[in-house]
């Protein structure tokens, strides 16, 4: 694992893992039940993610970006946010696992991917799961890479003004780190020490462009210092480490100011269903990274720790499939948005 550069306590997430605090031997604030719950969510997301990809091939879903490989980061950070209870999320298009784990039902997901009535994000106006899900404290307005960062900073500024405890967490990729707005967002957050976490899902690719063509450095977290931010590198394939690092970042953001959390992780699938990664990515590379599949890793961890047995694992998987089957049916049966709604909600009256 990469060593963190600096950060709230300038120590690696792994080392903190050994400093277990709860009596179950788990890190601060979580129980075995939490992990079982989150393992179920992870399996559910993986199952629906694979299904959606298949449905794209069947012509039923126009486009999808997969969260496969990113699940540990997405779920670990959400677990931290849920435990804290006072976070607001600005996600990006790859964050299916964040959104589902935050409460979106499989049926809603299916409707969204198929552009059907009942998509809670935009009711079919936008790309799948784009718009907002305010019930679950998520905004993801656009596909424009990095556009959410300054918005998250503004949200954090409003928290400060309104005197509440909300911490904004904004998710983005390594590609987004190149955008000028990313710099502007971090700089402003640093000046005003705002309660915001910049959570980078660094999968080393922006579509086909590898990290070395994007930046001259290895760790994006290195940039934190130049903005007066805390910067931490985390093994984003390990849900426990992600949980701990995020939990700590939330405290830091609230008490001292912004944090840049760089999660090192892997994108298992092509960029989207429109992409063909064979054009630019060696097959062995994909095989290699798949060795660290977060779903398998977490499953193993759960059995090793005795939180689940193989039978339960299989049951969870079966339940997920059943749930997704039903959701798929519901999605297919759902009506298309009525054309007469096309002009609705352009303005608030």
């Amino acid at each position: 694992m990469t060593q963190p550069r600096s950060g709230p306590k300038n120590r690696s997430a792994r080392s903190s893992r050994s400093s277990k605090t709860s009596d179950t031997g788990l890190p601060r604030g979580i129980t075995a039940d939490d992990l079982i719950d989150y393992y179920k969510r992870m399996v559910l997301v993986r199952t629906i993610d694979e299904r959606i990809w298949m449905m794209n091939r069947q012509g039923k879903v126009p486009i999808a970006a997969s969260s496969q490989g990113h699940e540990a980061t997405q779920l670990g950070s959400l677990l931290a946010a849920e435990k804290d209870g006072d976070c607001f999320l600005f996600t990006y298009y790859r964050d299916l696992a964040v959104k589902m784990a935050a409460g979106l039902t499989p049926s809603q997901v299916m409707k969204s991917f198929m552009g059907k009535e009942g998509d809670p994000y935009s009711n079919g106006r936008q790309f799948p799961l784009q718009g907002a899900d305010l019930d679950h404290k998520i905004i993801q307005l656009s596909n424009v890479v990095a556009a959410g960062l300054t918005q998250a900073v503004g949200y954090a500024l409003a928290s400060r003004m309104q005197g509440d405890d909300t911490v904004s967490i904004v998710y983005f990729g390594d590609g987004a780190s190149s955008q000028g707005e990313t710099h502007e967002a971090m700089n402003f957050a640093g000046v005003h020490k705002l309660p915001v976490i910049f959570l980078c899902e660094n999968n080393h690719y922006a579509i086909s462009v590898p990290q070395k063509s994007q930046m001259a450095i290895t760790d994006i977290a290195n940039r934190a210092e130049g903005y007066g931010l805390a910067g931490v590198v985390v093994d984003g394939m390990d849900i426990i480490q992600v949980y701990e690092a995020t939990r700590e970042a939330i405290s830091h953001a609230r008490s001292q100011g912004p944090v840049l959390l760089e999660m090192k992780l892997e994108r298992f699938m092509p960029h989207t269903t429109d992409d063909d990664d064979k054009r630019y990515r060696p097959a062995e590379e994909v095989d290699n990274i798949r060795q660290r599949d977060p779903v398998i890793t977490m499953g193993q961890y759960m059995t090793e720790q005795g939180f689940l047995n193989q039978e339960q694992i299989d049951e969870i998987s079966k339940e997920a499939t059943a749930a997704i089957n039903q959701a798929t049916d519901e999605g297919e049966e759902a009506p298309l948005p009525d054309p007469s709604t096309m002009f609705d909600h352009l303005f608030k009256d």
Partner: protein, 327 residues
């Protein structure tokens, strides 16, 4: 009624609204101690404090993105773009994000935000301190564009804009700031966003304009009245949504129309007005739909001779009206 300038009207509108509603705040470059480069926020830092009067780093994209994020949480930001010429870096946040937030979230998000933009030329600002940017915003669904010409309208419209729950691009002609003065009531008032205002009644020709050019049109109308041509002057005030009805009614009455703006001719706001008139008042027209606009060069150059050559003025409006009158 006190006689005040446009900049005073703008300042007092913001001040009243900030006193009235604590969720209103201003942010931008030099809005703090400096009070804004045009002094539109003079005294605000002392009155409202650092948390509601925020001097930002020099980075327009973030000014808008941050304002938008704060709006999502129920604040009512008034970001200032120091000069219209510097709005471009923030276009993605304005056009791509803010203007679509409500639509793209199917009504979940609200953007109660007023973007104040000093614009326009005639102040020896050259290519980067004179731009007319209205036609860019005019084309964008999901936002409203306001461009007052008088202190009275500026104050009443800005107050409405601040209370409006939608994204408003508020264009203030920077030459009008100190040049244009007028009566403004002491008591509180607002002016609805949308309706244009017939600033002068007339029966022979309709002239449609907004912002600083309005005043040249009014002066030219005065000149023409001495030549027995009775000119009606429509001040748009709000560009988007466009008050089509007032324009069409006026043209139906006069049969002739001249559109005047400082912005470049091609693809300007005047083109849309012409198109609407050509479609909806086609049978009432007694002459070609005419436009007197800035020529198609980037904007007014710095040298006095070139700046004058670029800008429409009272004489040029009067000549165009005469030509149309003779058609």
């Amino acid at each position: 009624m006190a006689v005040i300038s446009v900049i005073e009207a703008v300042r007092s509108a913001m001040q009243e609204e900030m006193r009235r509603d604590s969720s209103v705040f201003v942010l931008g470059e030099d809005v703090g101690k400096r009070g804004g480069v045009f002094l539109s926020t003079q005294g605000f830092l002392d009155e409202f404090g650092e948390s509601r009067v925020i001097d930002t780093p020099l980075a327009e994209a973030s000014i808008m993105g941050i304002a938008l994020g704060a709006a999502f949480k129920g604040m009512r930001p008034i970001p200032e773009v120091q000069f219209s010429d510097f709005v471009w870096p923030s276009i993605n946040q304005l056009v791509g994000e803010a203007a679509r937030a409500r639509y793209g979230s199917n009504g979940q998000l609200t953007v109660p935000m007023v973007v104040r933009i000093p614009y326009g030329g005639g102040i020896r600002g050259g290519l980067y301190h004179s731009q007319n940017v209205e036609s860019f915003f005019f084309h964008v669904p999901g936002l409203k564009v306001v461009s007052p010409g008088t202190p009275y309208d500026a104050k009443g419209l800005l107050k409405s804009a601040i209370r409006d729950d939608n994204l408003i691009i508020f264009l203030e002609h920077k030459k009008s700031y100190r040049l244009v003065r007028g009566e403004v009531p002491e008591e509180e008032y607002t002016i609805p966003i949308g309706p244009s205002d017939v600033k002068r009644q007339g029966s022979n020709i309709t002239v449609v304009s907004y912002g600083l050019m309005l005043h040249h049109c009014l002066e030219a109308a005065e000149l023409l009245s001495q030549e027995d041509v009775d000119v009606e002057v429509v001040d748009l005030r709000t560009l988007r949504p466009l008050d089509t009805e007032t324009i069409i009614n006026s043209v139906k009455k006069t049969g002739k129309i001249l559109i005047v703006h400082e912005d470049n001719l091609t693809g300007g706001v005047g083109a849309e007005i012409a198109a609407i008139v050509a479609d909806q008042a086609f049978e009432y027209l007694d002459g070609p739909i005419s436009r007197l606009c800035g020529p198609d060069i980037p904007t007014m150059p710095f040298a006095q001779s070139l700046e004058e050559a670029y800008l429409p003025n009272t004489d040029k409006v009067a000549s165009a009206l005469r030509e149309l009158a003779q058609y």
